[in-house]
Symmetry: D2
Subunit: 313 residues, 4 copies
Amino acid sequence: MAESAGGGAIPGIQSSSTEDDGITITQLQVQNEQGSKAIGKVIGNYVTIEVPALRNQDTGLQDRVATHFAKHFEAFLQRIGVGKTANVLIVGLGNWNVTPDALGPLVVENVMVTRHFFELMPDQVAPGYRAVSAVAPGVLGITGIESSEIVRGIADRTKPDVIIAIDALASKSLERVNTTIQIADIGIHPGSGIGNKRKGLTKDILGVPVIAIGVPTVVYASTIVNSAFDLMQSHMKANKADNDQVFGLINSMDENERLLLVKEVLNPIGHDLLVTPKEVDQFIEDIANIIASGLNAALHDAVDTDNVAAYTH
Amino acid sequence: MAESAGGGAIPGIQSSSTEDDGITITQLQVQNEQGSKAIGKVIGNYVTIEVPALRNQDTGLQDRVATHFAKHFEAFLQRIGVGKTANVLIVGLGNWNVTPDALGPLVVENVMVTRHFFELMPDQVAPGYRAVSAVAPGVLGITGIESSEIVRGIADRTKPDVIIAIDALASKSLERVNTTIQIADIGIHPGSGIGNKRKGLTKDILGVPVIAIGVPTVVYASTIVNSAFDLMQSHMKANKADNDQVFGLINSMDENERLLLVKEVLNPIGHDLLVTPKEVDQFIEDIANIIASGLNAALHDAVDTDNVAAYTH
Amino acid sequence: MAESAGGGAIPGIQSSSTEDDGITITQLQVQNEQGSKAIGKVIGNYVTIEVPALRNQDTGLQDRVATHFAKHFEAFLQRIGVGKTANVLIVGLGNWNVTPDALGPLVVENVMVTRHFFELMPDQVAPGYRAVSAVAPGVLGITGIESSEIVRGIADRTKPDVIIAIDALASKSLERVNTTIQIADIGIHPGSGIGNKRKGLTKDILGVPVIAIGVPTVVYASTIVNSAFDLMQSHMKANKADNDQVFGLINSMDENERLLLVKEVLNPIGHDLLVTPKEVDQFIEDIANIIASGLNAALHDAVDTDNVAAYTH
Amino acid sequence: MAESAGGGAIPGIQSSSTEDDGITITQLQVQNEQGSKAIGKVIGNYVTIEVPALRNQDTGLQDRVATHFAKHFEAFLQRIGVGKTANVLIVGLGNWNVTPDALGPLVVENVMVTRHFFELMPDQVAPGYRAVSAVAPGVLGITGIESSEIVRGIADRTKPDVIIAIDALASKSLERVNTTIQIADIGIHPGSGIGNKRKGLTKDILGVPVIAIGVPTVVYASTIVNSAFDLMQSHMKANKADNDQVFGLINSMDENERLLLVKEVLNPIGHDLLVTPKEVDQFIEDIANIIASGLNAALHDAVDTDNVAAYTH
């Protein structure tokens, strides 16, 4: 396991990263406005778990990812000041009828809920557990209600100390689809996620901290095309080609400029679809199990962090 | 179509019933305490739709039941003072992982929701529709939260004028299982339904009228046995047998006494199971479609009551 | 663990039974026509695993049952002369759309198949495995073809040495529903199982031995009623009651006579339904996992019999 | 409705095409080796139904496509000499656990099977029907048996006069994914379809004609990129740009050359994934319903071609 800590390079940004046999974990802290502007991210704490081989359906690797997720999530909670007895409401965002958007609801189905034991027989709960509840609020087309409104109503009545929201995301590159888990304490903002949310889930709205767990599960066709240009340019360069000659003016465009061009071409003719890998059913199930197992171990001391998978059904 | 109205026989009770080729619809009004005591039902309005052949998977019959449901539900709303523009929240109670308890969530999946159109583009909604939203709050074992708490939180934020709650019930006889739909304006009370609810959904708690739609989908083994005694006694009687001789002391017991005896025998050895017909998957799907179609037609004038099935997916 | 071997009591019948903390395993050999007539079973080898607490959703117990199943199934194969390298075709009978009939197809989904490795890269298969294939032939209403015809066609082309057929059964008592696993080398006969099979799966038809694994998953209402009479009579007797007085003429009927009477009463009015416990979804999944895990361990030496669950997904 | 017939332009090729409000139907006949070489298709009869708007979830359009499918499939059967009483075996290829590969099995679940009525009560079958059976043979990873072996075994026993095989395909362009239905009388060849079939389903192997119904449901990332180049070049050209200047040497590559380059870059780093649109669950269900409805109407005169959807569940 290799570790590299970087800090101070960019003012207002602290970051460090760890690697363990195919699993790269990066911690990032955006400390102030200066840092925020520098890297284009909201002030807050971020952890990213990258596992390029996660699509290989290797259950050994999945168990290791779940264990890493658990350890880092537990540390994350501590870092942002969420105590060991804080009540947690887990929110699985997304549409359970659309496989690549069903990640959140699937985590909710598999996570261990305990709040009712604390409510009904508080004296009999074994030590090492905290009160956890979990809901999948559905999407506007199924319920007719913004998911944020549903969560707010439930939070008003159940008074959690912290909310953990799981959401499927549109990826910024094909390689990140179903290989990356992102954790941040910045909440869920309108327009993030696959569904078109109009209202966010944030501390401002809900009154308690909101931790977002996001997994890219779909990608725009235009993103695939744009990434391919990059890859082809690198490939050519590695082969000593003159990329100005090979790619013409395209070579002189920067990434965003080129993406806009691609979108401009694909979009009007309905070609800029959101797509997901063919094996999406299995990928979503695997990642939902990793997150559910990891949350169980991170949230309850009584669940063993080193063998998290055994506690999930 | 035959109709029979009865009234005045029992003070405080008004009832009438209609029959249409295998579909019997009974309206009952319990007007005061006197009537309530006389028949052991809470004060309120009741409609029961009985269709003994509903388990035959006859789609023609199902369409007719949906149409009757729509007409009677529409009249029921009017009778209890729910206007044509009243906002409706449909609540599908029960556990979607337990087929005979999944009726409510299935109705929610199939019902037409419109509230978001009224919220997002009120000027563009065609006439003949009202704002309808729908949620399946799940059960305690999945969410860690009482379903009534979830509904209350959502109702607090979305302010419906009336709540319609669909729930699967334990039947008082095998023949009613998956053949009967019960409508009442008395809400959902703790202990009703298949799941062990500890808190109800009532006007007292939620501040708005709560209409319950209940369908018996399971029955206790003891109920089957107890009904069988009745049937055997009638059978013997019809064959001129002396039932005291045939059934001994059992014959002199009244129904409740006998049920207690049966329960006393079956319960301690784990034989008093709740059971459901083998074909439960199909039955639940059929009835959920009937109710969803019927609600769509009853709630929206723009949906044609005479051909309700076409509007449901 | 207690063991009791009985033999010689009935000529042509050998039997022995083992008990291990809630799991009772009975071996029975019907050796000849005399034995067959005496107990009303076809000549053959039988193993029955009875676990009254199997409906309690206790995963520890389920793992123990899977381990016992594996050990006894392995011994059973040896006893009837099926060698360690014999090719196996697993057949999951039943209708995957009817939960209590979906046991066989679910086992097929969860069992480890290996035949294709032996076909495509015979030199690279690790030792300790044999060639196993698995199919769910569906039911007449879905395919239009008798399941036995489908199996026969597949067996003709793939030439298995032995066929293992899993089927859901109608139970002879409520207590056996989803608590009992029956193994026998007598094949599947017409009319057994939940679906109305018209043709069997037997050595005569298929040319290779057919081992049946049956699990009662449904029960007739009349069976529930008939069992209840027995239980009530025992209960009364234990309380020193005079059962002739309590039950009248019913008390003098033998079990079959009484069952006929119950059926005569319930059947004409459509009350003799096949029913299944409310929690059928979970029960079927649990038992399918036990059988799939057990088969994996019994069929492949490389799969550890003491920890069978880990090999099943 | 516009029709255009082309013929004679290429020797050995006859083609004609019809357009009806967003539905384009092309008939193609490859008559001999000369024609086959000219356009790179096996000798045979082809019908392609293209509906660019099919992903819009417009049920009216879907019904119209089903009706067109039914009419053209019926004519196709007649053209290739399959009579009105020919027995049909419908084969749904693919993996039911992988949504974009589940098209075939879904059609099998929804199609009307009648063969058992002809077998069990031939005198009572109403006129206007023929014997139809249907199976989903699964994939190698689930059964351990080549699907072609399973089909061959079943065909040997049930003796159909013709086999109709439905399969999901990898698309040659993103725009064809879930918008196109292809019919051909050339059977299924190894390597076609999403799964890696090693043996085909052809008249040579099965002894009866095999009609393939294929729907592109996935597309390679490299195909998306390659198509994008075309689209960008057309776009630039339309804007009077000098494409040699804009695209450099890329502009001088032909389509296949460029595709090879893209694959060479994406493949080694695992970027040449097969992808499918995010809404794959709904798309597959819609198309399976279209094909099942269309087959029901095309195969049975008693099912009305003009309102095919009503006969499918």
